[in-house]
Assembly symmetry: C2
Homo-oligomer: 121 residues x 2
DNA sequence: TTACTATATGTGTATTTTACCTATATATGA
DNA sequence: TCATATATAGGTAAAATACACATATAGTAA
């Protein structure tokens, strides 16, 4: 299988494909901020100890696709931050995920219900 | 982006990683059957027009991992079918997904709630 | 009997997505 | 000046998925 702890669905499996993307957009819709901060906030959606490289790549890809814009912030403590902000297109894109997520939730409900009806455990 | 219809989350995105696997196991728990029939039944979980090759590969992989067993059925109409059945290990594995799916449902709820609180549309 | 269609299982390979590892740079404090 | 925390970024391997194609059998229509 995949892991050595006997369960194959604990770590990376069971996640929704590219779910990080709408999560990042949602967080940016709440408040424009930089990547390192977003990494922390992603824990709200169950992303814990996520690889920073993945996040920065997503952000750059989303900027390329005009879902976000960015600017360098040199003031304040530490090294320069790249502050990201949601665009109108990004907002629309985020909303388009709403339907997908609702459908997914419904599918999960069906799965859990069918599973319970088996009267296992 | 990915598609040319303006939305990136309609087709392949937004799916749950390896979700087909527990779905197949659940269907087999309900009733042992063969791949071609499982492909039809997967529509229950939103898998529509899925590639048969993927399903057969999953089934063989799961047999290799002793989650299912199979036997050739030559009686009846048409070409021979390979009938799959859930093992005890497969049953345990299926149950281990229950927690993951519940957690995911909760995350989706959080996402949708946060999205609504933005008072977009 | 030939050809066509539906059923059923399977392979090969490219693409996409994710994970892991490493590199770079700056400010701060010891 | 040396170590550490903060912050961003790139290279590449592995995993998951998609797409195209191959094979075989039974039934049926020409």
């Amino acid at each position: 299988m995949c892991s050595d702890d006997g369960c194959c669905c604990g770590d990376s499996h069971g996640r929704i494909q590219r779910f990080i993307e709408p999560c990042l957009l949602l967080l940016l819709a709440q408040k424009p901020t930089h990547g390192y901060d977003l990494i922390d906030k992603l824990s709200l959606f169950g992303f814990d100890g996520i690889d920073p490289g993945t996040i920065y790549r997503y952000l750059r890809e989303m900027e390329k696709n005009q879902l976000v814009t960015s600017e360098w912030i040199t003031e304040g403590k530490g090294p320069a931050k790249r502050k990201y902000e949601l665009t109108g297109e990004g907002k629309e894109y985020l909303l388009s995920w709403q339907t997908v997520i609702k459908k997914n939730r419904e599918i999960l409900n069906i799965f859990l219900q069918e599973l319970e009806e088996l009267n296992f455990d």
